[in-house]
Symmetry: C4
Subunit: 211 residues, 4 copies
Amino acid sequence: MSVSKGDQRETARTEAFSDGVIAFAITLLVLNLKDPLMDPALSMSNLNLYQGLLSQWPAFFAFVTSFATILIMWVNHHNMFTYIKRVDTNLMFLNGLLLFFIVLTAFTTLLIANHVGLTQTDNGRTAAAVYSGNATLLGIVWSTITYYSARTGLVPARPGGLRYLIGPLPYAIAFAISFFSAFLSLVVVLIIAVYWTLASRGFWRLVLSET
Amino acid sequence: MSVSKGDQRETARTEAFSDGVIAFAITLLVLNLKDPLMDPALSMSNLNLYQGLLSQWPAFFAFVTSFATILIMWVNHHNMFTYIKRVDTNLMFLNGLLLFFIVLTAFTTLLIANHVGLTQTDNGRTAAAVYSGNATLLGIVWSTITYYSARTGLVPARPGGLRYLIGPLPYAIAFAISFFSAFLSLVVVLIIAVYWTLASRGFWRLVLSET
Amino acid sequence: MSVSKGDQRETARTEAFSDGVIAFAITLLVLNLKDPLMDPALSMSNLNLYQGLLSQWPAFFAFVTSFATILIMWVNHHNMFTYIKRVDTNLMFLNGLLLFFIVLTAFTTLLIANHVGLTQTDNGRTAAAVYSGNATLLGIVWSTITYYSARTGLVPARPGGLRYLIGPLPYAIAFAISFFSAFLSLVVVLIIAVYWTLASRGFWRLVLSET
Amino acid sequence: MSVSKGDQRETARTEAFSDGVIAFAITLLVLNLKDPLMDPALSMSNLNLYQGLLSQWPAFFAFVTSFATILIMWVNHHNMFTYIKRVDTNLMFLNGLLLFFIVLTAFTTLLIANHVGLTQTDNGRTAAAVYSGNATLLGIVWSTITYYSARTGLVPARPGGLRYLIGPLPYAIAFAISFFSAFLSLVVVLIIAVYWTLASRGFWRLVLSET
């Protein structure tokens, strides 16, 4: 697939479609919060609502972490497209892949909500590995989009360097940690989200080699 | 995090994303209405559909209250962004926090639908406290956004004064009432929504010190 | 609430928000289609998938009818706002009421899917009455919006006359029929949707007294 | 229904509504991924999470295939509307029919996730027939839209020829295969999606007889 100017299109509708998918994915996260007394799979019918809600703290923790992560994704997507003025078919495909892993986050968050707690279990570690693994793939797709956009001149930046590691590497570390502690892995993902919230402008300045 | 002009961005895509999240959150509320004869957790298989629907009146009451509350949130969001012409990173973060509590409303409404009725129960009071507590946090974030926008000059208004209490205070009263009567607390939230529906223009005139 | 020019706002964001809610409501209808062999409430575990799907024809019929009805709502909403160039607070409130009944359609469709079949039952008639009653309220809100817009000069048309009945009256007939036959009532709603599909331009020409 | 210039409208809001529906439909697919240990219908409570997730591979395969298929639908919809500058009522109706089958994909994907595996079963073949049959109807609506747009001059192209078969024919082949092997039928649908991903520009060039 060669890239020619004739293949490039305006970004407005791609942004609108991405906004729709991301907004929907972030809202769907709330369906992972269950009424603890009404869900037969939770087996909490002997508790009152207050106790039931407290015992569901991993679901709330996962909700907060995923909400923050997807929100950061959107802020970065928003920022990226203030640099990218035109898209070609390859970039639309990469953007579709990005949306795929963002949508998958609703499912990986459900696994966290159901299986991670203070007690270490095999299922908890599996859930955390799936969750942080998905986030790592998201980071890799981000770096690929950044690299591709710089290489093909869709954004005014030089490609190359170690900077493409700063997206996926922290998530890869959370993935590695998940094999030892599910909860710690989740905390790392939350720290990454908080960090990007505070530093998102600096990230793009670094990646895009602004002066 | 200092705020500079260079940090400010256009609001169009932030509005579009917020519209998307609010529109989905308000629509998701309908999933809290269950077919009374089909949901095993409701144990109503001995009733006919008419009786089952009538016995579900708290779910409908919660649906109406939350729909009205989120609609007011949207109308106010719409009005606020006719004043705010540019956003900075802090405002995007505060807006994300606002969306977080709006999305959570779908879950707190589910708790109301399942646990509040005419009979006072501990679980009903817990559900009402969670519901009105979430609304209070929403009000606090609103006031913070209004204060921040005025202080940093993003809107043309003087910050300060007791006016920042009129957002969260009524919800805080509903929260206090929830410890005595779940139903009464819900009625207060509905009254607040109806009041803002009739008075939303006056609210912004007051908050923004228009002459 | 008096209406002044100063109260009027641009319609762009109201249209975008309405589009979001309607698009989401129409898509949520698909959740009313269940896998017949996986849903314990349907008690069809002795059938194969082909038989199960066939026995679910009322759910598909309700899906088609509601999809067509909401699509017509959107086409009419689209057409109406090509005439309405500015909104005031009252119109935003009426539009919110319209969205409320459109969102409720997802729930009334679920009742149809679960309770209406070829055999006449009390529950089937209850479901059809709720469904067509909701559609009648939708029609009344439409007529109110049309009347209000004409009266306040938001659209260039004379208010008045019997034309305000053509929205709600057919649905009111379906509502009356629901007390005798649930299935016939649903057929009337489908006929209305097909009619508006073929005649939507003529409808607005009539309502707005175009020459 | 005759087509006159006066019947034609701007496409902007039709595109926005279609984007909304397609974005929600693609995101709703994630609800077909279930936690294998929490869903009583899956009867996997004797497995650990890792084994449960692996045994759910058909659900993931169906998720990927449907996500890719709907994404291609959106890319093509996007491309088509760069050619179509105005819509008439017939085209809005055809577009509604297109959205209907796109939304139905969430349901047909659920049937695949629940019933298709490596073992050939009658239910698996039924699910694959419903899935590929729906995709074939989607292809036929696409071809109808392309033909109608060319005939009425909404796009600058000559109608006619065998090219209208390239949309539905591959899906019809998948439909025919579904009576022999559910899995093979699904593989064909995935290959079609990958092919269009790589060749979507060429498709429109061919269909629209660009020189």
